[in-house]
């Protein structure tokens, strides 16, 4: 493999030489070694970071065109610095035994387990739907524990909560050697807690979490209903907060709406900044598709992008999946991609999209908005008529528009049982028959939701 790499580098060098001046080549590229080439990435070993800075800033177009002409397509270029030579010392040639050090360096960069290196701020597409969350995350990454603490990010499935959190982790992990970043899901937190109780090593458990400089907890809503875990987390939270350590949490709903979460935790979660992620608008979806296509080196016609962006609305993950499917079909079959072909390929996704377009959450929001009641009232135990009836309408709509079972609907409305839901549906139906005004209102909300 070594021989292959060095052969490849010889070829690249030959393509590169005519494009840069002789002095430039000698100065910047003669000491470079190619250590690996995959289908989408070329790894270059440079003697120290000035090579990386200077080549990145000045010679990337030349390097990319050389890569394209030799390898037949663009590749991402990754630089690995052999040694951190200090300023002023003469450029040291890479010595033998370096590869071990390089590996160590690469491992260090990746030291926080669970962080996906693809989830960075650079790869995040910003649109009006996630502007605030992105800006807040970036501010947190740039000056942790100074601006917004804790940062609470919430939004639906596949809208980028995890991406933003991991981006914060990577940003800080890459920047300060001494920053201890901990990233985990609340489920893992709970499991480790249970494990710690079982094996009676709570002290070790506490020490582990309370020493972090940056604690990132994903899907915090799973803490709902787990009382001991909540208590443990409460103390961890306080310790970190008092020590001016940054805490970032993500959830699929606002803190106040997480079922069975203690009030002292809710109020703490709302202490810093709460940022919502909303489904992307069509322009943002276009941008996401293009960015993804660019990183995956997929080339598609504009109308295909357009089709995907307009038809798949709710979920970024699904959008990317559809893109992958279309692209792999195109490259495997070599057939022309027409509307019909794409539609056929994505049949199941599009159907799902049409059906699942309405979620109970959306229904609750819409109904709450229409009747001007608080969203929290949808799940609360309060039952004066001006709250109870909208809630019953929402249950009815949930029954009609989603595939959720009576039990699921009851659960989503603050843990009511299926009988309550059934009663609500019957009642609403009856009143729709009796009063035109109610029927009109409901069909208005219905059509607004379907749109």
């Amino acid at each position: 493999m070594d021989e292959k790499s060095s052969q490849l580098w010889t070829k690249l060098s030959a393509a590169l030489k005519p494009q840069v001046s002789a002095d430039t080549f000698k100065r910047w590229f003669s000491a470079v070694k190619l250590t690996g080439a995959t289908a989408d990435e070329v790894t270059l070993l440079v003697p120290n970071n000035i090579y990386q800075f200077w080549i990145e800033s000045n010679h990337m177009p030349a390097l990319q065109s050389a890569i394209s002409s030799v390898l037949g397509g663009p590749r991402a270029v990754k630089f690995v610095c052999a040694v951190d030579t200090s300023a002023g010392s003469d450029a040291a040639d890479p010595e033998p035994g370096i590869s071990a050090r390089v590996q160590a360096a690469a491992e260090r960069a990746n030291k926080t387990p669970g962080l996906n290196p693809r989830n960075t701020f650079e790869s995040f597409v910003v649109g009006p739907n996630n502007e605030i969350a992105h800006a807040a995350s970036l501010a947190v990454a740039q000056s942790p524990a100074k601006t917004y603490n804790p940062l609470f990010i919430y939004g639906g499935v596949g809208l980028g909560k995890t991406h933003l959190m991991q981006a914060i982790g990577q940003y800080l992990g890459a920047r300060g050697k001494s920053t201890r970043v901990m990233y985990l899901s609340s489920e893992l937190f709970i499991n480790e807690f249970i494990d710690a109780i079982q094996h009676n090593n709570l002290v070790k458990f506490r020490k582990r979490y309370r020493q972090a400089d940056l604690l990132l907890i994903d899907d915090i809503h799973f803490l709902g209903g787990k009382e001991r875990s909540q208590e443990e987390f409460f103390h961890t939270f306080n310790t970190l907060f008092d020590g001016h350590k940054q805490i970032v949490l993500s959830s699929d709903r606002p803190a106040s709406e997480i079922a069975n979460l203690e009030h002292r935790l809710v109020s703490r979660f709302e202490w810093g900044l709460t940022a919502e992620l909303q489904p992307p608008d069509v322009e943002t979806r276009m941008a996401i598709l293009r960015k993804k296509a660019h990183t995956l080196k997929i080339k598609l016609r504009d109308e295909i992008f357009d089709f995907l962006a307009t038809r798949i609305k709710t979920n970024v993950r699904r959008l990317e999946g559809a893109l992958m499917r279309v692209a792999s079909f195109a490259s495997l079959s070599g057939k022309e991609l027409t509307h019909e072909v794409v539609e056929h390929l994505l049949k199941d996704i599009l159907q799902e999209e049409a059906r699942r377009a309405v979620t109970i959450d959306q229904i609750q929001r819409r109904v709450a908005e229409h009747f001007d009641v608080r969203l929290a009232d949808m799940t609360s135990k309060r039952r004066p008529a001006n709250i109870a009836f909208p809630r019953q309408i929402a249950m009815y709509l949930a029954r009609e528009l989603t595939k959720a079972s009576l039990n699921e609907i009851g659960e989503a409305f603050g843990g009511r049982d299926h009988g309550t839901v059934l009663h609500a549906c019957k009642l609403v139906k009856k009143r729709m028959k009796e009063q035109d005004k109610i029927r009109q209102t409901i069909s208005f909300i219905d059509s607004a939701l379907q749109r």
Binding site: V20, S21, D23, T24, R27, N48, N49, I50, Y51, F53, W54, E56, S57, N58, P61, D84, T85, S86, A87, G88, S89, D90, A91, Q142, A145, K146, T147, N149, A174, R175, G176, K177, S178, H244
Partner: protein
Amino acid sequence: MKFSVTKEKLLECLQQVQNVVSTRTTLPILSNVLLQTNGSEVRLTTTDLDVGVRGSFEAQIEKEGATTLPARRLFTIIRELPSSEIQFDVDGKNAASIRSGQSFFKILGLPEEEFPPLPKFDDSKVVTIRQKDLRDGLRKTSYAISTDETRYVLNGVLFSFKDNKLTLVATDGRRLAMLDIDLEFPRSHEADIIVPTKAVTELQRLLTDDGDVRVSVGGSQIAFDLNNSLLVSKLIEGNYPNYRQVIPGEMKERVTLERETFLNSLRRVSLLASDKSNSIKLNFSKNNIDITANTPEVGEAKESLPVAYKGREFSIAFNPEFLMAPLRNLAEDEIFLDLIDEMSPGVIKIQSPFLYVLMPMRISS
């Protein structure tokens, strides 16, 4: 604490220290300025935990003490006061009464104990530099600092103490400014340290043309002790890249240019450099440089500059902002522009040990 002072003295000192105070901070105490009596002086201190500045002014002190007051608010009040005589009276609960002429203000502060102390420099290496030299050196280099936060080691100026020289370096990957200051110090004091941008900016505000500055380096902190003010800053951790690698070897062509004439021509022509490519072209021919810029669908600009030039004819393109930055900050009348060819970096030099390396842009013709 109780003292009286003239408005001018207090305002000048506040101006020195107030820029460090950050507008958004989670610790309320950091938006305050610490006031302490010290002999016949009052000392003002501000910090954002990364950079701290202390200044002092002469005052008539009636009662000693210390307190902290909101810095921005204090500054705006003092600036607006009608009379030149100001009396300060701070009670035991950190409420300050300010009297001046017919005006009376009362502002509430926080106790001094909450204010984070500036780090101590007991066991540190000390070097003395003439303020004028350092001010001049920072002015000629600091504009090249990178603002790209992912390359954090470049977000500051390198202070390299070596071989009885202090070398200041700043680069952002496309250009590099470097300057040497002759200094005497023992070999044991040789070190490479990176001073962050904010500290450099604040330091430039404090430096004057007279006197010396004592630079102490200890651990990961640096202190600049001026006549009656002090700046303390954290250093950027990490190794500054090997900048010598960037400096081109043998140069082929040299032109001598009048700095101001050249700068003015560039400024005029750059008005038509397009936002997109943002380049300005220098076309060298016998005894002449044509400076040109054009933006498709907008127009073009051209200016001829007679120079003594006998080399071959060629063109080279630069980012106009990057070319003008050193010209604005140098003070010399004459500068030298050294070039190799259209693809190699250009170098701006002056009579004294200074160097500015600038990468050319690709000419698409």
